[in-house]
Symmetry: none
DNA sequence: TATGAATGAGTGTTCATTCAT
DNA sequence: GATGAATGAACACTCATTCAT
């Protein structure tokens, strides 16, 4: 499954013929943007961190904004990848994962693993989304729409089977996604220094979603 | 209940003897920080928006950072106010609200109302927390600890009564808080332009938390 | 007559409430632009020459281009001033200067005196005109049209009186203006280090124009 | 006569073994320098316009300044060519062109034709002369001195024959040259978009010079 | 010969902050 | 208390030029 990919792998997919210096720039930019925020990071800082001349950044990325885009676009694409790849859902639907629980479990583990591997990138994405119209557009188009569409089919099928309660489909999706991301944000962004028993927290989160969305007899 | 308070009320509480120009500066800063982010907002911009000279800002707030602090500190204090005010919890615990459901319902309605009234402020808080050590400290000290402490007592008492399931207390709190804020963020920050049936969403969210945390017979 | 005015006088007319630093900036910019050309002059250079901080320049002039405009606009206006002021031409037409010769003599002495006093400014104007659409527009609107209009009336009246030969009016104007400016450019821009007998050259130039444009019996 | 030569012809004369890419660079540089000025043109721009790599420019011309020199030197040499080629003046002096009028007519038509063919180059020359010591030196040495020397002989001979008036020789030359260039500059640099009746203007200019410099009986 | 990635000094401009008025 | 002119460091970005390939 694609959950093994880390930052560079996914950027390399998007941008071919990347040079060594370009790689260094991307890594430095991700670290800096993640630490201080896009607006508070200077290109000079990135250059120093990457060990290249400031001009080199602009040879590869016309503007600082372009650099941000080059970093986040692959993330968005990879974030939604499993949802648009047929195989993932065929497994979920047709084969062994045929209960809502197993679907949730698969989704949670898969995407949390992915987010964990790309913490910095993901932090940048959620920090910058409110301030960049184009990012918001990308997010809405890719994540909101595409993920929603696939999950809608699934959730509807589970609803039909009586496996989940009768609330608006988009609400169940929102509550599911919110619980997963809520854990991620608390864990890696708000309180990264706290002690976390990750396995237990994830299980608890899965159980919470299941209890929250499945009917009581 | 304290849910009626809006931006200025709560700032006025913190800062006495506020002048008219100072008020204008605060309002302008909140709007600007919320729209473009703290780092991307210039003091010149704030001055123009407030209709004062740039120097005037620095007469009242030694640095731009001080201005941010002056804006966010009252928010943090007011955000946690109901949790430390005895009355609120006496009502919850001793009087009519004696089930977990009614507690959740009270909390959700009360704090969502408050967040809605202070969207801009709250947006600034969550945007800037990751980048300012002192804000994070304030947040941890005030929100995380104080809210947690009070909720812990309550959740533990509900747990003792068998009203909620046996998962770590901090996990239940996280899941609760996450679901509430998750709605708020989706509603007001990520997809503010979408059509929302607020009443239904809130009810669904409450139900989700309840189902997620209460035991099945 | 207005021929006594020098650089600052004419800029002060255009821009009221000029500060001391602003004056220094203008003087430094004029010197630098004139010496090295607009594009080859850095704002840093101007700041140093003016003895102000670089930021100060941009407090008064939003862009480097604005600074150029602030310098040249008054020149253009003052250059054409005598042609649009009624008095100047009333003197020429009604009073003592009632021959073509005296008209030419008055024009030549008056404008050459003015150009000499504002050499640097004028050099900037002719150097930059080919590269700035707006300057060209200003020049065409003000100088070409307004000067032309007034001179046309006069030349036509001299033509009617048989004082000048029957060639297209605009050609006579061009040849006159070209001869005057030609002297100025050779004298002050192309070969400023050569020895010049100014009085004789000016008289020769006047005579050349007169011979060139008046009929032979 | 040499008046047929255009840009490349004259550059090719100066630089042997020119490669195809080099040609493209020269053409691109001339267009760019002429449009935006030397200082405001970047080598990157020239490279793009020429369809070569930026490094290629510096392989052929050590510096940007060298490129300018490579462009202007041939112009200067060719501009004065007819004045130093014996044949041209032998024709003028010994054969049919033995009046001042015919000399002027020949000069005007010949050099205006040449300027027209090399507008861009000539525009660069007059724009850059004030800012480059070496160009000014070249200009003075070649154009001012060599042209002056030849014209001096001629003008003196015409003066001796009583064909032109008794003013300092260098003044007559200045007035002649100024009138010719004045037309060229008005025509091609200042007001290129205006409608021009070229034939008439040139005739008028010739007549003006003749009238201006020949004695009245 | 030609390339284009890389450079680092330099560009015009903005910044938060100071201070005399 | 309020102003806004002044600052100079920092900003994103461009420049002419170099050099390994």
């Amino acid at each position: 499954m694609s959950s093994q990919e880390s930052i560079l792998d996914l950027i390399l997919k998007e941008e071919k013929n990347i040079t060594n210096k370009q790689k260094k720039i991307l890594i430095a930019a991700i670290e800096a943007f993640s630490d201080k925020g896009y607006a508070a990071t200077s290109t000079n800082e990135i250059a120093k961190k990457a060990g290249v001349a400031e001009g080199t950044i602009f040879r590869h990325y016309k503007t600082k904004k372009d650099l941000l885009t080059a970093i986040l676009t692959p993330l968005v694409h990879t974030l939604i990848a499993p949802f648009i790849v047929k195989d993932f859902f065929r497994k979920v639907l047709d084969l062994s994962y045929n209960t809502f629980e197993e679907f949730i479990r698969a989704i949670v583990y898969n995407r949390l693993e992915f987010l964990k591997k790309n913490q910095a990138l993901f932090k940048i994405l959620i920090q910058e989304i409110p301030f960049h119209e184009d990012l918001r557009e990308l997010f809405k188009e890719q994540i909101a729409k595409k993920i929603f569409k696939r999950m809608e089919e699934l959730v509807d099928s589970f609803k039909a089977k009586g496996e989940i309660i009768d609330i608006p489909t988009y609400s169940s999706i929102r509550l599911t996604v919110t619980s997963i991301f809520g854990y991620f944000i608390a864990r890696y962004i708000l309180l990264p220094e706290a002690k976390w028993n990750d396995e237990e927290e994830i299980e608890t989160t899965i159980q919470f979603i299941l209890y929250g969305l499945t009917p009581r007899k």
